[in-house]
Symmetry: none
Subunit: 398 residues, 2 copies
C-alpha cells in the first residue's frame, strides 16, 4: 500500500466500487449453475463484455475471510496486517463514540434454561426496542475505575464497551456459538489481560442478575473483544475523496475506519443507487455495499440470492449513465447458498473503463470470469487497478 500511496495523484477520474457481499457461489445441484450464472444480468454482462474480468482471491487459496478482512482487502489494506476485532466493527457501525484505549465486544442477548444452558442464541430474536430497553438496564452496572457502556445494535445484538486505565483486549469469547451448553467464563489469553477478564466476568454475573426476569432475553454472550486499531485513511493514502453507501452497521463502521464519509440512505437497493447518484458530484471514489446477497447465501436461500443479484443488475444503469471512469463490480468473498456460509472460493470481478483492455469474457459469472484476462488475482490488486484506470497513479521511475 505504501508504494501505491507514493504514486497516488489527484485526477478528475471517478471510481465506483460496487460490492455484492458474498457474491461468489457454487452450482445448484439440480441445474449445475451458480447463483450468478442463474441470475438474468444483462447489464452486468454488458459491463463484463466491455470490461476486463477475473477472479479475486480475498485472502489467498483456501482461506475464508470474515467480513472485516474481506473488505479491508478490497480497499487495499492487507487483511493480515490490519486485524480488526468484531467488537470494534460493531461499535463503528452504530457510530459509537469510541475513545482511545476502549475495549469493545459484540454481545448477543440469549435464552438460558434454569441450569444456565443456552437454549436460544438470539433470545427469540427480540426487537430492537426491547434490546434498547435492556441495554439501558445493563448500563446501570458499575465498577470502580472502569466504565461499562452498553449500546443496542439491532435485534438481539448489542455492544459492550469498557473504558478505563490499563484494560487489555486479549480475551477469549464467552459465546460458545452453539446451544446446549452454558456461556463460557471469559478467559484471559495473556497475563496482561487477567484483570480485564475478571472485570468482564464480574459484569456478566451482574448482567445475569439484571436480566433474570426478562425471559427470553435472560442472559448475554460476548465475543470479539478488541481495541481500535490505527488504519491510514483512504483519502490520504490514495488522494481520494471517498464516500460509502452502505446500510448494514458493520460495513458503515468499516468504511468510517478507513476514512470514508458514510452517508445516510434508504435500505433498498434502489435507495442505495439513488444515494450514489446524489453524492456522485462531490466524490471521486464511491463504495456501494449490497448486503442482501450475503444474507441470502447465509440463509441457504439460492433463489433469494439470485433475485438480489438481479435487483442490483436492474439498478445498474443508474451508475452506467453517470459515466464514471471506472466501475468495479465484485464481492468481498463467496457465500454459496449450498454452504450457508462464507467460503474460500474466489470471487467474480469486473472492471469497466474506457482505458481497460477488454478480454473475451462476455458474461458476468464465475465460469466466465475464470477465463478473464486478469486470471485469479489477489484482492489487494483491486485498488491499484481501479486507481490506474482512473489515471490516479503516477509513473514509477524515470
Amino acid at each position: 500500500m505504501s508504494q501505491i500511496s507514493q504514486l497516488a495523484v489527484t485526477s478528475p477520474g471517478k471510481i465506483v466500487l460496487i460490492v455484492m457481499d458474498g457474491l461468489g457461489g457454487l452450482p445448484h445441484p439440480e441445474t449445475g449453475k451458480t447463483e450468478l450464472e442463474t441470475a438474468q444480468t444483462p447489464h452486468l454482462d454488458k459491463l463484463a463484455k466491455e470490461g476486463i474480468c477475473g477472479m479475486s482471491e480475498p485472502l489467498g487459496p483456501g482461506l475464508t475471510p470474515g467480513s472485516g478482512p474481506g473488505h479491508l482487502g478490497l480497499f487495499g489494506y492487507d487483511p493480515f496486517a490490519f486485524v480488526i476485532g468484531r467488537g470494534i466493527l460493531e461499535a463503528l457501525g452504530i457510530d459509537f463514540p469510541l475513545e482511545k484505549g476502549d475495549i469493545a465486544a459484540r454481545g448477543n442477548f440469549c435464552t438460558v434454561d434454569n441450569k444456565g444452558v443456552i437454549t436460544d442464541r438470539r433470545a427469540g430474536r427480540i426487537s430492537t426496542e426491547v434490546c434498547t430497553k435492556l441495554c439501558e438496564e445493563l448500563g446501570g452496572i458499575n465498577f470502580p475505575g472502569v466504565k461499562a457502556l452498553v449500546a443496542p445494535v439491532e435485534g438481539h445484538r448489542f455492544l459492550l464497551v469498557l473504558r478505563g486505565a490499563s484494560l487489555n483486549p486479549d480475551l477469549a469469547d464467552s459465546d460458545p456459538q452453539q446451544v446446549g451448553v452454558a456461556p463460557k467464563e471469559v478467559a484471559a489469553l495473556s497475563r496482561e489481560a487477567e484483570a480485564t477478564a475478571a472485570v468482564v466476568n464480574s459484569w456478566i454475573g451482574k448482567a445475569r442478575g439484571v436480566l433474570a426476569d426478562h425471559h427470553p432475553a435472560n442472559m448475554v454472550v460476548l465475543r470479539g473483544f478488541a481495541r481500535l486499531p490505527h488504519l491510514p485513511s483512504m483519502g490520504e493514502s490514495y488522494k481520494l475523496n471517498p464516500v460509502a453507501i452502505a446500510t448494514y452497521p458493520m460495513y458503515r463502521g468499516l468504511a468510517r475506519l478507513v476514512g470514508m464519509k458514510v452517508v445516510d440512505c434508504g435500505r433498498s437497493v434502489e435507495d442505495q443507487f439513488a444515494a450514489l447518484a446524489k453524492h456522485y458530484a462531490g466524490h471521486d471514489f464511491l463504495f456501494l455495499h449490497i448486503k442482501k446477497t450475503d444474507t441470502a447465501g447465509e440463509d441457504g436461500d439460492f433463489q433469494r440470492k439470485v433475485k438480489a443479484i438481479e435487483e442490483v443488475d436492474a439498478a445498474l444503469p443508474r451508475v452506467v449513465d453517470l459515466k464514471p471512469d471506472v466501475i468495479v463490480v465484485t464481492g468481498d468473498h463467496s457465500t454459496p447458498a449450498v454452504m450457508k456460509a462464507h467460503s474460500w472460493h474466489p470471487v467474480p470481478f469486473l472492471l469497466h473503463s474506457p482505458l481497460c483492455r477488454p478480454d473475451d469474457v462476455a458474461e458476468f459469472s464465475e465460469r466466465a470470469c475464470s477465463k478473464g484476462a486478469l486470471g485469479r488475482f489477489p484482492a489487494l490488486d483491486i485498488m491499484p487497478l481501479a486507481l490506474a484506470h482512473a489515471q490516479k497513479l503516477a509513473k514509477f521511475g524515470a
Copy 2:
C-alpha cells in the same frame, strides 16, 4: 504455513492425495501429444470434468525440482526454507536410526578403470545382496572419534552416515555424475567443514582399498551430504492424521520426516490402491505415491510412462468409491520422456470435491489443465486448497 496452522481445525473430511511422480510431460515428436494426452484415462477425465483443474508450479517458473523439494511443496512446506539433503532422504527411506548431529550421504558403488576413471556409475547394477555384503566390509573402516556407518539401500545404492562431535555437512559431492572422469575429492564448502572433508576423503581412500578386488563394484561415489533438519509435523500443523502409501525408500523417508505414518504395501499400483482402501478408515489424509511414471520418464520410455498413467487410471475407481471429500491428483514435477530428466514444466493438477467450483476442463492433460480455473499456481497452495475443501480451515477474522 504458520497461517494455515492457526486456522486448521479437525473435521470428519477426508483427503486423498495421489501423486504420480514426474507426471508432466512434453509432446511426442510424432504425435504432438504428451504422455498424459496419449494415455487413455477415462476415470481421470471424469474427475477433471467434475472437479477444478490447473497447473501446479513446484518451485516457480523455470525451476526444476529434485524429488525432495517437489514433495515438500506438495505437503505445504516451502522447499526453499526446508532444504533436505539427499543423504538424509536415503537414510529415512531405509529407516536408518539417525541420531542428532549425524551427517548422511548417498553413495553409489561404481566401476573405475585402472587409471581411476569411472566407466560405470552403477557398477553394472549389482544386486542388493552384493551391495549388502560390500557395505558390511566398508563398515569395518574406523576413525578415532568418528563412526562411519554404512548401510545398503537398493542395487548399487548405499548410505554413509558419519557420527561424531563437530561434524559439518557443508561438503561438495565426490560423484561427478558422469563417466569418463575420476571421482572428485570431497571439497569443504566452508571453513567449518574442512575437518569433515578430510575425514570423508580419508574414508573414500580406505574404501577404494577395501573394494579393490570387488570389480565391477571397485569404487564409490558420494553425494548429497546433509544433516537432519527439523520439520513441523503435518499432523500438528494441519490437525491431520496422515498416512503414506509409497514403495520407494526416499518417498517413505520423506513422508516419515513430515510426520506421516508410513505403512507397508505390495509394490504394484494395484497393491498400493488396496493399501489405501485398507487404511482409509483410520486416517483423514492419505498420500499415495506412484513412482513408475517418473522412472519411465527418466528412462526416456514414452510408452511405458503412458502405460503407467493408464494403470493408475484403471485403479482409480477404488478411491472414488470410498467417496473421499477431496481427491487431488497431480505430480511432484514433470519428467518428460523426451528429456529423460526432471524438468521445470508445471504439472497437471485436479481437485475433486463436492464443494469445488467446477470449471470447463473435461480432460486431465497438460493442455486442458492450463485452461482450468486454478490457472498456473504455486504447489504450496495445494494443501490450503485441499484442507479448505475438506472443511478443515476456519474463517479468518470476523
